[in-house]
Symmetry: C2
Subunit: 376 residues, 2 copies
């Protein structure tokens, strides 16, 4: 098992005993630049069957690692633990499942926090501009390494859904099926504006220093603010009302502390944002966030319809959530209809979860049956 971290491994990575590494041989050509022998970190579950036809590849959202679920090597809970495992909707007794850490991220795959082997210093902002297509292409190279010609399905939610779609467009012969969850064929200006502001919050932190911060003292303040904005927009107004109402964090408003925390919702956001800082490299965050803005299926052929016509999967499952205002259901419908127009057997599921964009991580009672039925 190739679990030795490569020499260009980001600093202070957490222990991840199930993590495997594949170093790409030679130059990796990107949409706008190239990298020397980048590394991909991934995890795997289950066994490849004799005709190598039961492989499922999962691309992640912006922030997760490849640790989607626990395994004997790493029993810690994964970010999609309820979806993936023995007898779960993506059943690892039947499927060989691989989850790859996105190129540009900081959980084992090469990104702005990794060492550039040519200069022996971290890439930082010399890392080439990243695209969702680049991440998708690393998935194809990983399949080559694993001797998998064709996937049963390529799966992703949020940015991972964009990546899964890009994979299905750019490698049409390598995916029989596509699952896109709370994602889109391209970003809308509303979500671009929010992500642009999140990036500005990080860049406005004096400690960021145009990306030249000391990796041991990163721009936590900016990252915390960006994370708070993310959390507010990943969920929904209805959920906040249900969870917090107008509960005050303290029984008395303190007139002597005029901008402290009054409400439970403020206290919750503060605590959650604190957890995030330190876990994610700021430059990696900036690169991945911008890659989402730039993704546009219409870049391939001149229109979304033409881009989607490149997909040759036999079937697709498109899941949207009514309370998601970052990737609203109109975008899910556009994607489902665009795929259906090209003779793909599309199942479109619009779920009534109130947890907004994050529903696929938390409203498992609604998501499990839909995904399970696809894999029946």
């Amino acid at each position: 098992m190739d679990t030795t971290p490569p020499s260009n491994h980001p600093p202070a990575a957490p222990k991840a005993p199930a993590r495997r590494y594949h170093q790409i041989d030679g130059k990796f050509q990107m949409l706008r630049g190239q990298l020397d022998s980048p590394t991909l970190a991934y995890e795997q579950w289950g066994e490849l069957n004799a005709d190598r036809s039961n492989a499922v590849l999962i691309f992640t959202g912006l922030s997760p690692s490849a640790h989607a679920a626990s395994s004997p090597q790493d029993p810690t809970t994964g970010w999609w633990e309820d979806m993936l495992g023995p007898d779960k909707p993506i059943d690892t007794t039947r499927y060989f499942v691989v989850c790859v850490n996105s190129l540009g991220s900081c959980f084992g795959s090469t990104g702005p926090a990794s060492n550039n082997p040519t200069t022996d210093t971290a890439y930082r902002l010399t890392f080439p501009m990243l695209s969702v297509e680049d991440i998708a292409n690393t998935g194809a190279l990983l399949l080559d390494h694993l001797n998998i010609d064709r996937l049963h399905s390529v799966v992703g939610a949020s940015m991972g859904g964009m990546t899964a779609l890009a994979f299905a467009m750019l490698h049409p012969q390598r995916a029989d099926g596509l699952i896109s969850i709370s994602s889109a064929a391209r970003s809308m200006p509303f979500s671009i504006a929010l992500r642009s502001l999140q990036r500005e919050l990080v860049r406005s932190d004096d400690i960021w220093q145009k990306g030249e911060y000391d990796h041991s003292t990163p721009p936590d303040s900016g990252m915390r603010l960006a994370r708070k904005l993310g959390m507010i927009t990943y969920r929904s107004s209805a959920e906040w009302s249900e969870r917090f109402g107008r509960e005050r964090a303290t029984s008395e408003i303190d007139p002597g502390h005029p901008f402290g925390i009054d409400f439970e919702v403020e206290s919750y956001l503060d605590a959650q944002a604190m957890k995030f800082t330190g876990a994610f490299d700021a430059n990696c965050y900036l690169y991945l966030s911008r890659a989402m803005d730039l993704f546009d299926a219409a870049d391939h052929g001149g229109s979304v319809a033409k881009g989607l016509s490149m997909v040759k999967a036999k079937r697709a499952l498109v899941i949207g959530v009514v309370s998601d205002f970052l990737f609203p259901v109109c975008q899910q419908q556009e994607l489902a209809e665009g795929l259906e127009a090209h003779d793909i057997d599309v199942t479109y599921a619009e779920l009534g979860s109130i947890q907004g964009h994050d529903s696929f991580l938390v409203d498992m009672d609604r998501f499990r049956p839909v995904v399970a039925e696809y894999f029946l």
Copy 2:
């Protein structure tokens, strides 16, 4: 005409030749504190009729001054120019209209940027915690000064709607009518979370210095970020899509400038946020923003229904906008139904504007007829 700025006038106020001032005599008791002889800035249009029954009082949203419309004294365009004036929906040939700058603001009324007469230094964070009810109570004192016993109507949008409601609750004999636009009987946790983050963006600017910044070099960077977040949330996703699509600000993406401006929507936000900085004092912004969070009609009597039962107006107009996610239509319905339950003749109008919370400032074709019909 009492247009001489008082001695405790905030620094560097713009010229406002139509602005009038009323200094409250003695102590002004607030919900949580008190002020010595605060000043109120206001403007007025039209003539009071013989039986003093045609007065309309307008409370503003968080950021506007009292300059709601032009006048012979000040021909510059006001913030509600299309709504207010001769032969406009609020017809100044028929009504005597007063617009008051909110207590706590920085356009002539006493706020955190004003001098405390006791110490002869700016209040800054020694200003008492501000409530929407305090602003409403200043309106009643202004009516005393103008010898107006009872208003034809009290009017407000956004925070101004909260203030108009508070006025109608706390001074039930002084308003025959109430117009509430894109407002609420209390803030929801979603909008509290967004405003709390906006305040944190200001406070995170090193220049803010716990409110002790030099008034000539204010925390522009934090204010600009807060304003951007405001602009994103004041409008709607559909409007951004219609206005900007995925238009790029530059024809080519510049790989050498990895976090510059790619999209028109980013360029627009940047330009608009620049305009705002300098115009509004940061501490005033913090106080007013928090007052919105704290407002809750249920504080008066134990429930929203009991609070609303204090209103004794004969009729009310409640306007909501379907694309407003800060003050969603469910809150407008709650308000309309709560007023109707207490024998008030309520007109509820739900408008299909796509400009979100800001619609009352821009979608005049939809708003004018509804307001005009109320004043017929």
